[in-house]
């Protein structure tokens, strides 16, 4: 398995801002990552088919004006749709984090229940609190989910940082998401039990949903930021772990990217 042949595309520009840590997340797991300005895809300098993994990163594309992800998703939808359809059809991997998740829902790439890609079925609404929040949260994984990115993860912690992260959808969509195991991550308490209590569930998401995937498990969207927990020294309690001699070698978020890179190396290169 040669991870170095895995090519990751990180789209930047227009107020997106997590390009460096997202690139580090992939490169520290052996892949090569390229940060490409959206305009360089629109003007044809780069094409999606050069890559195996596509990351829609966090940030404030267009300032979150008109709703998070709206303007950016529109630009992608009206200009890159053909390339994106092919990328999905080729079974390549897509991850959308925070603003990227909002963009994925606006594009209709997740949840794509019943295989209806490019139709919006879910949304990330304003947090119930009405304000942006930065905190560390616990997540519990649906181990039956087909999500490629979260294989082998049970409980995991990472930071959240958003004002529009409340997962909402019509009941029939939620029911299907649950039935198909497309719910990947739920906000949980410190013991790994899903919860709808603030601040553990920081935004009031329905069914405590923090991350979902498409039916194939190859497209993954989540509000929390695994790329901000690559180093063990990012953890809010690392000083305690260190004194106890329990400090791990890597930050907990790294495995999500490791899973993706390994899958791509085995299946897509």
């Amino acid at each position: 398995m040669d991870c170095s042949k895995v090519k990751v595309l990180i789209i930047t520009g227009f107020g997106l801002n997590c390009e460096k840590e997202t690139a580090a997340a992939f490169t520290s797991n052996g892949a090569s990552a390229e940060q490409v300005h959206l305009n360089d895809l629109l003007n044809g300098k780069h094409r999606l088919d050069e890559y195996h993994i596509l990351a829609f990163i966090g940030g404030f594309s267009f300032g979150d004006h008109l709703g998070a992800g709206t303007v950016f998703a529109n630009r992608v939808k009206f200009n890159l749709r053909d390339q994106l359809e092919k990328f999905v059809a080729d079974g390549k991997l897509i991850i959308g984090i925070c603003n990227g998740f909002q963009t994925l829902t606006r594009l209709g790439l997740v949840p794509a229940v019943d295989g209806e890609y490019f139709k919006q079925q879910a949304a990330l609404a304003h947090n119930d609190s009405g304000v942006f929040r930065d905190d560390w949260i616990h997540l519990t994984t649906n181990e039956d989910s087909p999500c490629v990115f979260t294989q082998g993860i049970k409980n995991i912690r990472m930071p959240i940082r958003h004002g529009e992260g409340k997962f909402v959808a019509e009941q029939d969509i939620i029911d299907k998401l649950e039935a198909n195991n497309q719910v990947v991550f739920r906000y949980a308490d410190a013991n790994g039990k899903a919860t709808d209590k603030f601040p553990m569930n920081p935004n009031g998401s329905l069914n405590s949903i923090a991350g979902i995937c498409d039916p194939s498990g190859r497209i993954f969207g989540l509000m929390p930021h695994p790329e901000a927990f690559l180093s063990p020294y990012n953890a809010p309690d690392w000083t305690v772990s260190k004194l106890k001699g329990e400090l791990p070698e890597k930050g907990e978020g790294s495995i999500i990217f490791e899973n993706a890179v390994k899958f791509a190396a085995e299946n897509l290169v």
Binding site: N39, F60, L66, V71, L243
Partner: protein, 984 residues
């Protein structure tokens, strides 16, 4: 054709914005309404078809949670509809993003004269509001300096609909230049200065008058022997207190309480610069670029240098807290961005001095906002500015005192990293050759922010100009910064600087000093709307702009790259070496000033300062209920947690955070300092900390300054840092210290300034912590409503330290029951100016002092303990002394502690209150595993320290000795610490 696109939340989902507004109406106005519904409106004025408009409405709405229509929907159940839009010419960021989206949807970019205007509509249900009350609600939703408000009853909406929101700028001619006849009386000269908001004194006006009588070369350029408005404005900006720091540069005759006299020629040069210079000569080898660029630069490792700058944005924030504070943060971001070849932005810091959010209305000067609303706006502005720029905050604090009701202080700072070399030249270098092109990039110029520099050089008075307010656009700036780093790495420019106070007049004026002159055509400037006069273009402080010197051979590539990144760049002229600041309007010269006069023609001020130590009452300390006092202290505004607001700032973006602003088991106790890696997965980091103690100034600014320097340094030590690679920033905010009719106590206030400077020199030098950049803001008074309010002399001392190995960092929370508690450093009865006395409504006299030699010895030993990994927790007490310190250590770990007050090293303390609440400097609380006790004692050696107790599992903070025996539940400490500003 105009279309109203209306986006409403679907009724089945919660309208969070509506609910927030409902509680805000309750909080600000004490009016209870039943419900508030909201919707967004985009008024599109463009050549598009009705079918396209329908498509736009459908695409802009998020179909799961919103409905988009063209036109106006009829909503039942409300009484009042309030429309908030922007005034003509005010930056409408949302409208701008909307026009980008509209362009994508209809498949073509909108033309310049095609616009989208955004507005928000609030529908108020219940509460029995009459029109007057509805108007009150409306004004609480908008800032009428920049926004328009319409109030319509439901019946009015039903019969006439909501008028279209089309705030176009129309009817200006622009391009006019007038001349000022300065051959007039002194009174008339001052009249010209006042009416023009030039903030020039009579002496300065006379120097200008004299210059234009004899200035050469004017005839040839078609100018007379009197200045144009362009010229007078340029001089006013360049010579403003804000830009020229006249008071810090003044000649001061200082007399102390014993009548000893001395003459100080420039506080800045005699104290601040001198200390840095001397430290750089003798003690440290890591100063790279100090004082002369937009931010200070220090060496970090063999790949990068670190850049740091902090500023204040007080006057704009007083008038428009949101816009003023946002431009504060995105403005200071441009300083590192414009330092050397352009630094990348790493961390933001913020801090605010405000009136209490619980102030009674009589404390608030006429026409200014209540501190609660002001605070909300300031936070929101910096939150939006910082978050949208993708920069984490690494330090944030608030300090409350009634004297900030007249003028809030809004500090914003930014750390950046600069490559050691870029394209073969030093990253910190910059140069300009004659013939290089003057290029402006970023936002367009409007009337916003005109006279920001001169207006902030005056006190806030009734006629303070509303146009001085600017609105930031973080996304335009983010796009520009992304472009800058690409252009930098390709070596496309020789020089970069930001356009801040004074706009182009300052940035180009300063750049032109490098080559020896400039010639620029103001007609080429990209404008937001037609109708600006040349002087307005030159001094406008419209945001998100940088200026460059681009070699002619690179200009095409520079322009091409900018176009690819959606950044507007304009060639405005060229740098010359003829010694002239030469502005034209097309072919016509409108300003022609000798560079030498512009920069060196300002006469130095001569001022007097006289020091007389004040004497205050001492409080009665016997018979205090110490347990109740400890709890009350935890809840005090200057000590309690402001987590509710702080968590609205992103502090994890970039994935570099190691010691966070909030620490402890539940992540809810404010950390002494923060540690941030400089690159992802790296081991090296920077420590950020600061000190601010304005009430110490009431006793003596000398000890205030010594204490904040010590505090900022010992906070570095408290998170595991070391002496040796710590740099400082000084930000002075003062009340007007120039004696006049308005300021009869000017000589005392100036003496306070001198004393603070003397301490700065002595202590930065003693600690070998050089200031690398600084700023001052000298007129922080309000005379509104006939009442003068002056801030206490306030200095923020910020430090940045290198940390070789972030894994050595320590947090303040107690970790394990059974650990030993040490107190390091001596406690003296130093409560003057402290928080305990403030609670007792007294000032006292014994302000904490600093012995730098003794302090450094302590810091070296404490660092040896953290370096060896033997400190389980470490905290340095500040406001509220050891009582608050023990409280925070216990609360952080959610663990109890037993403390024997008799064991605390002390001198001269007679009571438990003195031991517990003294704010003596240079002290620490450390917890240590019993297994390591001997090694720790060995490392601490002969400095004053003692084992004073143990961490326990009881959930109680138990303190005994000096006649008390207290058991305070840690849960109550936590509760008190968190309740004051919970949800506020």
């Amino acid at each position: 054709m105009e279309y109203r696109i209306e986006i409403s939340p679907l009724a089945k989902w919660r309208d969070s914005r509506g609910e927030s507004v409902k509680s805000q109406i309750k909080d600000y106005l004490d009016i209870q309404v039943d419900k508030v519904m909201t919707r967004d409106v985009y008024t599109v004025s463009a050549g598009i078809t009705p079918a396209e408009a329908e498509k736009i409405a459908a695409e802009l709405a998020n179909p799961v949670i919103q409905k988009g229509i063209v036109g106006e929907s009829d909503v039942p159940g409300y009484e009042w509809l309030i429309v908030v839009g922007f005034k003509p010419g005010v930056t409408d960021n949302v409208g701008r993003s909307a026009s980008e989206a509209v362009g994508d949807i209809i498949g073509r970019k909108l033309k310049r004269d095609e616009k989208v205007f955004s507005s928000v509509e609030y529908m108020i249900c219940g509460g029995n509001l009459d029109h007057a009350k509805a108007h009150q609600v409306a004004t609480s939703l908008a800032n009428e300096l920049i926004e328009t408000v319409q109030i319509l009853s439901h019946d009015e909406v039903k019969s006439g609909g909501v008028p279209l929101n089309l705030p176009r700028v129309t009817g200006f001619e622009g391009g006019k230049v007038r001349e000022y006849d300065l051959e007039v009386s002194d009174d008339e000269l001052m009249d010209i200065s006042r009416k023009g908001i030039l903030a020039l004194t009579l002496d300065e006006m006379k120097v200008i008058q004299n210059y234009f009588r004899t200035a050469s070369g004017r005839n040839e350029e078609g100018l007379k022997s009197c200045p144009t408005d362009v010229e007078l404005e340029v001089l006013a900006q360049t010579w403003s207190e804000h830009c020229k720091h006249k008071i810090f540069d003044a000649i001061i005759d200082y007399e102390d309480e014993n009548g000893a006299k001395e003459r100080i020629v420039s506080c800045y040069k005699s104290f601040i610069k001198k200390s840095t210079h001397e430290i750089g000569e003798k003690d440290v080898d890591w100063l790279v670029s100090v004082f002369h660029d937009n931010a200070g630069v220090i060496a970090f490792n063999d790949k990068i240098d670190v850049v740091y700058k902090a500023e204040t944005h007080n006057s704009p924030s007083a008038l428009d807290p949101y816009g003023g504070a946002m431009t504060g943060i995105v403005g200071v971001n441009r300083d590192p961005m414009g330092t050397g070849q352009g630094a990348e932005l790493l961390i933001n810091v913020w801090g605010y001095c405000l009136g209490s959010p619980f102030s009674t209305p009589d404390k608030v000067p006429e026409g200014l906002l209540h501190p609660r609303r002001l605070r909300d706006g300031v936070h929101k502005g910096v939150i939006d500015g910082g978050n949208q720029s993708g920069i984490p905050y690494g330090l944030g604090w608030e300090y409350f005192d009634d004297r900030y009701c007249g003028k809030p202080l809004v500090y914003c700072g930014t750390v950046g990293i600069l490559p050691k070399t870029v394209n073969g030249i030093k990253g910190s270098d910059k140069s300009i050759e004659p013939g290089d092109l003057i290029v402006m990039a970023g936002g367009r110029i409007g009337k916003d922010g005109i006279h920001g520099a001169t207006f902030s050089s005056e006190e806030l008075h009734q006629e303070s100009p509303t146009q001085a307010v600017q609105i930031g656009d973080p996304i335009t700036q983010k796009k520009m910064s992304d472009f800058i780093y690409e252009a930098r790495n390709k070596g496309l420019y020789r020089f970069i600087t930001d356009n801040g106070a004074g706009g182009l007049s300052s940035s180009i004026g300063e750049m032109a000093e490098k080559s020896g002159g400039c010639k620029m055509d103001l007609q080429k400037a990209p404008l937001k709307y037609a109708g600006l006069d040349p002087w307005e273009i030159l001094v406008s402080e419209a945001q998100e702009r940088m200026s460059f010197a681009v070699p002619v051979e690179n200009i095409e590539e520079f322009k091409r790259l900018a176009a690819e990144r959606d950044v507007e760049v304009t060639v405005m002229g060229e740098f010359t070496d003829n010694g002239k600041f030469h502005m034209t309007w097309g072919d016509k010269t409108v300003a022609y000033i000798d560079m030498e006069f512009m920069h060196d023609g300002l006469p130095r001020m001569q001022l007097k300062a006289k020091w007389q130590p004040p004497v205050f009452d001492e409080p009665e300390l016997s018979n205090r209920d110490i347990a109740a006092d400890v709890k009350a202290m935890m809840a005090r505004l200057n000590i309690c947690s402001d987590e509710y607001k702080a968590r609205q700032y992103d502090h994890e973006v970039k994935g570099l955070s190691v010691i966070k602003p909030f620490v402890g088991k539940e992540r809810d106790v404010v950390s002494d300092a923060t540690v941030t890696m400089v690159e992802q997965l790296g081991s090296e980091g920077v420590i950020l900390s600061c000190g601010i103690l304005p009430r110490y100034s009431d006793v003596d600014t000398y000890h205030m300054m010594a204490s904040i320097i010590d505090l900022a340094i010992r906070r570095v030590i408290a998170v595991g840092g070391k002496l040796g690679h710590i740099a400082g920033l000084d930000n002075f905010c003062w009340p007007d210290p120039v004696k006049s009719e308005k300021t009869p106590d000017g000589e005392y206030k100036l003496a306070q300034l001198v004393r603070a400077n003397k301490a700065l020199y002595e202590y930065t030098k003693a600690f070998k912590v050089p200031c690398i950049s600084g700023k001052d803001s000298m007129k922080n008074d309000s005379t509104r409503g006939g009442k003068k309010i002056s801030i206490p002399p306030t200095v923020l001392f910020s430090t940045i330290a290198k940390m070789e190995d972030v894994s050595k960092a320590v947090t303040l929370d107690a970790k394990f029951a059974g650990d030993l508690v040490y107190v390091i450093g001596t406690t003296r009865p130093e409560l003057g100016g402290g928080e305990y006395y403030a609670m007792l409504d007294k000032t006292g006299n014994k302000v904490p002092q600093v012995d730098a030699t003794y302090a450094q010895k302590i810091y070296a030993k404490v660092s040896a303990v953290t370096e060896a990994g033997l400190a389980c927790s470490l905290h340095t007490p500040a406001l509220g002394g050891l009582a608050v310190g023990f409280g925070k250590v216990a609360a952080g770990g959610r663990l109890g502690m037993d403390i024997d007050l008799n064991k605390i090293p002390s001198e001269g303390c007679a009571s438990a209150a003195e031991i517990l609440f003294s704010e003596s400097n240079s002290r620490f609380i450390m917890t240590v595993s019993p297994a390591n006790a001997e090694r720790v004692a060995g490392l601490l050696g002969d400095i004053p320290f003692a084992e004073v107790g143990k961490v326990n599992n009881s959930g109680q903070l138990n303190m005994s000795g000096f006649g008390i025996d207290l058991n305070i539940p840690v849960s109550e400490i936590v509760l008190n610490y968190k309740k004051t500003l919970d949800g506020i």
